[in-house]
């Protein structure tokens, strides 16, 4: 590695911090629901990536790498505090996630068009982590299903299923909330 590359790596790393720290914090805060822990997670993400750079590795895309490291840290955080693991949560849901090959981006679009984004956002914390994770990647961080699949080490198909189910869950919750409000209004 030449001196130019050394300087370049430092410069690129600091530029990546300026560019992505806020987005990474947003992602972490939405996943962890704890501001201080989210800041710590972002800090740990950058220090881990810096350690990787120190070992002489070249990073082509800081964005993807940073998200990948942050995602792993968030999963670690979940494993520390949740009684059951994410894998166990999946089993409880009883979902065979490869069983919806027909799902495509267009069907996700059709479903999303029926949902109020603001209400969905407010209910995000009420849905299981594996759905929240993909919805945040898709609609906050603006990653495509392929990128998300690489990030969470699942197939594109599984990602599409999770996005679809996550949206459906949100829509059901919004509708249930509206129905309850209507019922209260009538009984008054």
């Amino acid at each position: 590695m030449t001196s130019d590359i050394v300087e370049d790596q430092e410069k690129r790393f600091l530029e990546a911090f300026e560019e992505y720290s806020d987005a990474l914090f947003r992602h972490a805060a939405m996943r962890i629901n704890d501001r201080e822990k989210a800041i710590d997670a972002v800090h740990d993400t950058f220090t881990k990536v810096w350690s990787y750079v120190r070992q002489g590795h070249q990073i082509d895309s800081f964005r993807a790498f940073l998200y990948k490291v942050l995602n792993n840290l968030i999963i670690d955080e979940y494993r520390k505090h949740k009684e059951s693991s994410l894998d166990a949560l999946l089993e409880i849901e009883g979902v065979d996630e490869g069983s919806f090959p027909e799902l495509s981006e267009s069907s996700v679009e059709a479903l999303a068009a029926t949902i109020d984004g603001r209400k969905a956002f407010a209910l995000l914390a009420d849905i299981p982590e594996q759905y929240r994770e993909v919805l945040i990647f898709r609609f906050v961080d603006d990653l495509g299903p392929k990128e998300i699949a690489e990030m969470i080490e699942e197939s594109e198909n599984v990602v599409s299923v999770r996005i679809h189910r996550g949206l459906r869950l949100l829509r059901n919750k919004i509708e249930a909330g509206m129905a309850a409000a209507e019922k209260r209004r009538v009984t008054k």
Binding site: S3, S21, A112, G117, R118
Partner: protein
């Protein structure tokens, strides 16, 4: 979906790092980068490459270049005078430039409140260093001392005003700034006091007035301090940046510090690092203890920084007084084993002395006191040797107390027998000389004057 995405994304954008959080996070990451730089081999390579380039600098004179050179020379002149003035002391021609231009310019360009507190503390340190120098040379007249006292008051008032201002916007930062100020005031006050106590009568002047002002300011700031500790994250960020600074300073002390002194500083920095790791590990279970541990580490780091940067403090206080050495578990076990061995040696010497003494030199009353003491020390040492086989860290403190107790008893016995028998004095004196690290108080001797009468 576009509408859903827009609504969803708009809500998400409300979640963002505040300016303070972003700055702190950035500082933490940069501190980490400084603390864990890219491998030195790569940096060395970088230096060599830039050095080679210098051989190929070409000069091409033209009128614009001449004008630029003239301007540069004028600037160089201003910078040079300003630089030379930095070494001026009260009474020098350039002192006014130092205080009125250099320092005021730096005050103007120092923007953040915390940075302002640090700078005002630095100015306060400078005034004290100047006063110390003048006092050592016998040039600290009453007028100059009064000027120094009023300058100290001015700078400490400025620092305290900034701390008050900080409290309104950022309480944690204000607490950190206050900790930094009180540590500096405390160190300077103790250092001046030590200097006055050590000075040869008539050779150097007292700095009592300055000390009084420092103590008064320190007390006022301590009263104004809240009992609340800063948030954990803020503490960690500050500790990281200050320890990084201390490590950087350590690299620079090679020009004046001996290898032993550098080793002493390095040892303290390692101890501080261990304290930080312990505090970080305990944050989940006991956040308050973790924060107190970090505050302690921060104060010790400040002290080390002052030790490395302030010659006046370094001349009057030892590093051990500023930041006491913390022995590692291994060192403590080693010291314990050594002390056990020494106690055994003294037991053997005392028993030999007793067996070879004549009836008239040691009477029964003395024997009645000495024999149970020897027996008790022997029993304690036997039990200690057995416990030491397990290397049980949880028992270390109890074992240290027991060996110190046994050693004190047998030391008294040996002292008494030396008075009576005489021939063990050389061993005893050697023993006293060689064991300075464990204090043995002869006043706790079990023997009374009556026992000594034959």
């Amino acid at each position: 979906m576009k509408r859903f995405s827009q609504q969803f994304n708009k809500k998400a954008k409300d979640i963002s790092l505040s300016a303070v959080e972003n700055r702190e996070l950035r500082n933490r990451v940069i501190s980490y980068m400084e603390y864990h730089p890219l491998p030195s081999a790569l940096k060395a390579e970088a230096v060599i490459v830039s050095g080679q380039k210098e051989h190929f600098i070409l000069f091409n004179f033209n009128k614009w270049r001449v004008l630029r050179w003239s301007g540069s020379l004028a600037l160089l002149l201003v910078v040079s005078i300003s630089y030379i003035a930095e070494k001026a002391i009260p009474g020098d021609v350039l002192y006014a430039i130092k205080v009125g231009f250099n320092e005021e310019l730096r005050s103007t360009v120092t923007l953040g409140s915390y940075e302002k507190v640090v700078w005002e503390t630095e100015r306060l340190n400078r005034r004290i260093a100047e006063a110390r120098l003048l006092a050592d040379e016998g040039r600290l007249t009453q007028e100059v001392e009064a000027e120094v006292v009023s300058a100290i008051k001015l700078h400490s008032d400025n620092a305290r005003r900034e701390i008050k201002r900080l409290k309104l916007s950022d309480k944690d930062e204000a607490t950190l700034a206050s900790l930094s100020l009180t540590t500096a005031l405390d160190l300077q006050s103790v250092s001046l006091n030590r200097r006055d106590n050590n000075k040869v009568e008539g050779e150097a002047q007292s700095t009592a007035l300055i000390q009084a002002m420092l103590t008064q300011t320190q007390n006022a700031e301590l009263i104004a301090q809240d009992n609340e500790l800063p948030a954990y994250n803020r503490l960690i960020a500050k500790v990281e940046s200050e320890t990084t600074r201390a490590h950087e300073l350590l690299k620079g002390v090679t020009t004046y510090a001996s290898t032993v002194e550098q080793g002493d500083i390095k040892k303290r920095l390692d101890d501080i690092d261990k304290k930080i790791i312990t505090a970080m590990a305990s944050v989940e279970s006991d956040e308050l203890a973790a924060k107190q541990g970090l505050v302690n580490a921060l104060q010790q780091t400040h002290r080390l920084i002052v030790f490395m940067t302030n010659i006046g403090v370094r001349d009057n206080l030892t590093i051990e007084e500023l930041v006491p050495n913390t022995l590692s578990i291994e060192d403590r076990f080693l010291a314990l084993r050594l002390r056990v061995q020494q106690t055994e040696d003294l037991i053997e010497i005392s028993e030999t002395a007793l067996s070879t003494s004549t009836a008239t030199s040691v009477n029964e009353s003395v024997k009645d006191k000495v024999l149970p003491a020897i027996a008790s020390s022997k029993a304690a040492i036997a039990s200690l040797k057995e416990s030491l086989l397990n290397n049980d860290e949880s028992q270390l403190e109890a074992m240290e107390a027991l060996v110190l107790d046994s050693y004190s008893i047998i030391f008294d016995v040996a002292t008494l027998l030396e008075l009576k028998v005489g021939h063990i004095s050389t061993v005893l004196e050697n023993d006293i000389d060689g064991k300075e690290e464990v204090s043995v108080d002869l006043d706790i001797a079990t023997t009374t004057e009556e026992d000594l009468e034959v």
